[in-house]
């Protein structure tokens, strides 16, 4: 594989500090086009901070993020969304008052360009645009098998389905890079299997590149192509699931090792 041309994202020497606390210490890794890249590590390792750097919620003090072969300028999160990066959140961040359908419709925001005046009078292409994007959303709904809850306000849905709606909102954006922050946290075995299948299908069928954080080692090793391991803000391992599994510092971090 020609790694340089196939790099979707290249993260170089990121340092992120909150006051005196260093959340990420000089971390570099890359994400290839079309792969499923997992970030794992114990609690507080800085995984979510890393995801927040990628999607622009945090601005690292040092380091560079290269996206599609170009060094990325400092950007606001909404600008990064317009570049084709969508995400889900560790603690579900849905629009609670809106229906599942409307939530997923907001995912189409970056694809809808008609002016505010056009929208106000529902003319000049605004209605056409609305219908076209609605079709994409219906496909996402079919794909995730949530037709039965389309019109339900998401606040009333059980946890597993909320997670699925949130994935739907991110998918509706037809992102190039999909960031998933613990997509399976708090799920039972069956729900985890479903979610794994959706992630694999998204990756296979649409060629979407996926970067995900997950605690369930079984799931991570099953579905990911390559894994980054973090501990205390440092990178302690990087490679295929097999390589990582046999890495001594990873084993130490997970099983605990006496430093004395």
């Amino acid at each position: 594989m020609n790694q340089n041309s196939d790099k979707m994202m290249d993260i170089k020497n990121i340092v992120l500090r909150f006051g005196g606390v260093v959340a990420i210490q000089n971390i570099s890794f890359d994400i290839f086009k079309g792969e499923i890249r997992a970030i794992i590590g114990p609690n507080g390792a800085g995984k979510s901070s890393m995801l927040n750097v990628i999607n622009g919620f945090y601005h690292p003090q040092e380091g560079e993020v290269w996206f599609r072969g170009q060094k990325r300028k400092s950007m606001k999160p909404y600008q990064i969304a317009h570049q084709g990066i969508a995400r889900t959140f560790q603690n579900i961040a849905l629009f609670k008052g809106m229906t599942a359908l409307d939530n997923i419709m907001t995912g189409r925001f970056t694809h809808m360009k008609k002016s505010i005046f056009s929208q106000m009078i529902w003319e000049g292409g605004a209605s056409k645009e609305e219908y076209e994007n609605r079709e994409v959303v219906e496909k996402v709904i079919d794909f995730l098998e949530i037709q039965h809850i389309r019109k339900t306000p998401v606040g009333a849905l059980p946890y597993g389905l909320q997670k699925r709606v949130e994935l739907g909102r991110a998918l509706a954006a037809e992102p190039e890079l999909l960031l998933l922050d613990e997509p399976m946290a708090g799920m039972n075995v069956e729900e985890k299997e479903d979610m794994s299948r959706y992630i694999l299908d998204v990756n296979n069928e649409f060629g979407t590149t996926v970067a995900l954080i997950e605690h369930d080692m079984g799931v991570v090793m099953d579905i990911s192509d390559r894994v980054v391991v973090m501990d205390y803000g440092k990178k302690i391992g990087d490679g295929t699931p097999d390589e990582v599994r046999n890495n001594q510092s990873v084993i130490d971090a997970y099983l605990g090792v006496s430093e004395h």
Partner: protein, 333 residues
Amino acid sequence: MSAEFLYTIEVILNGLMAGVLYSLVALGFVLIFKASGIFNYAQGVMALFAALTLVGLQEGRVPFAHLINAVFGTKVHHFDWTLPAIAAIIFTILVMVLFAILVEKLILKHLVNQEPIILFMATIGLAYFMEGFGDLMWGSDVKTLNVGIPQGGSLWFEDFTIGWAAEGEKFYGMYVDLLDVWAAIIAVSLVLFLTIFSQYTKSGRALRAVADDHQAALSVGISLRVIWVLVWSISGFVALVAGMMWGAKSGVQFSLSLIALKALPVLMLGGFTSIPGAIIGGLIIGAGEKLFEFFMAPIIGGATENWFAYVLALLFLVFRPQGLFGEKIIERV
């Protein structure tokens, strides 16, 4: 029907009409509160400022005439043109959009993630600044506003209802002000438009999204700053409609900014986050205070309209703290 009964109907009818005007002011509060969690104290002053600008543009007044005259020793007061009402309204809308942009650029942008009380204080500052600025720009005299909305009692309705009384009763038909009827029609259209806009357009969904979750809204590509300009523009427009109606009814004067206070009990009653709540709340307050005045004033003395709305709202607060239509606050512990 007895004349007594018909009088009561008439009182309720006029109360509902007055309530519509309260609702118009309350609507502006709700829009901003929903989208950004800010209680915008300046909403009433925005209505005043919009009405002042409307009159000023329509009559071709020179803005800042006093200041110009004082500095340059001139005696300007009016341009030699006047604008048709519709043109003046369009220009005023543009002024309110500009106002929204300035509020975002000069105030909101710098107060992101601050406590609601800080933002509330900022809007108090804004309100008093706007009042002074409006005075400086257009002068403090009471202005008459005429944008072509019919005014005065409806003779047709009087004739229509006069036959309702029983034989021999002293009843001369019901009085309904045409301006109030128009205000009601405009308010209903405005609410319908806003509801449809927020349900079925991209920007409407973005408004609701920002109201629900800032982080998630950002993550799907919504710019908070654009949404804030949009929502302040819309409530600027609602303020213009309210200012226009109140101005046409009782003249454009600085006491107009105090009508904002009448919107408070309406909000307490209807809920701070509900557009239909603002309308229903306004109607209940309007009809309630007129009825109370009608029946109780002869017994306990007049001027009950000054306080009755608040008592009514307090009673509602005790039993339904979230208001009639407000979102129920359930916090898991």
